[in-house]
Subunit: 159 residues, 4 copies
């Protein structure tokens, strides 16, 4: 009998699986309250709401710089994974889990542009270098007013 994890998945099922994995299975992403609100081959968006736990400066209500870095790493990682999912069309969840287990951030730069004030934050990412082994992404963080809070650049191992 074929187990569920052996069934072939198409690209959009793979992306749905990865989005769910990031939101539901990664404890620190739950602490941050991250929601993957858009996730297709070339559109990635992650949102989260301000809450007390995420503050670095509680007097001025400013997001901790580590939260910004964390979210940029997450959204860049999602884009990097998406950039190679076309190669995985028809793979099983089991195979994919193995592939994804070898992926990871190699390095990341964060540029802090202005204090992280706001009620809701939106992180997006775009691929600037796609490859079989390495993907490079640029990420941005804005608040609900469109204020640009940070830029990121990340290099990810993808194969």
């Amino acid at each position: 009998m074929t187990s569920l994890t052996d069934m072939p998945l198409n690209r959009s099922e793979i992306l749905a699986m990865v989005g769910e994995l990031f939101t539901e299975q990664m404890p620190f992403n739950k602490v941050l309250g991250l929601k993957v609100t858009q996730y297709q081959a070339d559109v990635v968006e992650v949102r989260f709401a301000m809450k007390k736990d995420l503050l670095g400066n509680p007097v001025q209500n400013i997001l901790h710089g580590g939260v910004t870095a964390s979210v940029l790493d997450v959204v860049g990682g999602l884009a990097a994974i998406a950039s190679v999912t076309d190669k995985f069309d028809g793979a099983s969840a089991k195979t994919l889990a193995e592939k994804f287990g070898k992926m990871g951030t190699i390095d990341m730069r964060v540029d802090y542009l202005r204090p992280g004030r706001g009620n809701e934050f939106v992180a997006t990412a775009a691929i600037i270098r796609a490859g079989n082994k390495v993907a490079v992404t640029r990420m941005e963080l804005h608040n609900e007013n469109g204020d640009h809070i940070a830029f990121g650049t990340g290099t990810y191992l993808v194969g």
Copy 2:
């Protein structure tokens, strides 16, 4: 009557105040469980224990990359602040709060060297460029076995 926040502080009192501020007053540092275990003019050490909330990969018990980035930013920031505290000798808590409020991370690079496995993690930082306006620091994260998990480089506005 002179209020407590107007009393002059010497350098070691200032460092004690900053260490306490980072550990006790910054909500996200409490979420991470950070302890400032050493903090003098040129030695900074931050420690934290592994716990489920900090995992990125709960199957393999690996720290979330955002936790690594967060802690490196914190320990680098502490070093950057320490690098200018000699100028603040004799300043009051009120004056210092104002000065520190203008400091912040400009940019940071994180290099992930190996998976973040371990029970306790130790982050350290050293100043590589000291200035009146900008300080640049290099940071490291190790686990309790001395495995080197990540390097960081951070540029901080300090004046």
Copy 3:
């Protein structure tokens, strides 16, 4: 008698002076063959032609990565200087020389996207963080076909 270097300059005269300084007075920029082809408050463009001396790989006719880094640093620096020239309106060449002497690159990241092939290259820069002390810029390098060769991010001391 007022010397030429004491005469007040307006913003567009300052930019013309800086552009000329970069093109004519900096020996390494002459080695690279850099031309400042556009330089206003918020538009900066530097061009250079391919030549044998700039090759890293002479078999495949690919630009040396150091040439790419050099040009991105130059164009980012020009943008950083432009971002503070409004403060210098009416200053003399002598005063400006002193101000510019204190400016410099703090750190830079270069992302290499594809091999540097082409006959002519165009570097551009935009400010992402403007400040009295520090400016952060993003830079791009394209060839004459619009192929995107590299991205850069630079942090500059400007005051």
Copy 4:
């Protein structure tokens, strides 16, 4: 008949070949005047002499920041190549040329610590992450007095 480029090379012959390639075959390295003065599996040193062509600031005799970036990229690249040469033991020059043609810098960060003054400069590099696909290196530039001029961090595609 076996051509010269088909003969098997051992590791030290490979390193000698690569060192010679960087010094003699790369035009821009000749412009910079780079000499590979040490090159073994885990020691890499590149030296060059000050000369007018390398100046950014000819009034103060300061190296152009692009020269610094270029040299750091070169010495980091040499270290990255060395980190995978054990896999190539016994390969021919022809095979190696093919392998090396696929290697390259993915991204690099340069931290400028102090003005590049001096008569002779020494660049060194060390591997901080070794892998089959990607190597990460840290680089340093000093002058002949041991003044530390710049740090670098580079990520290289090596397989």
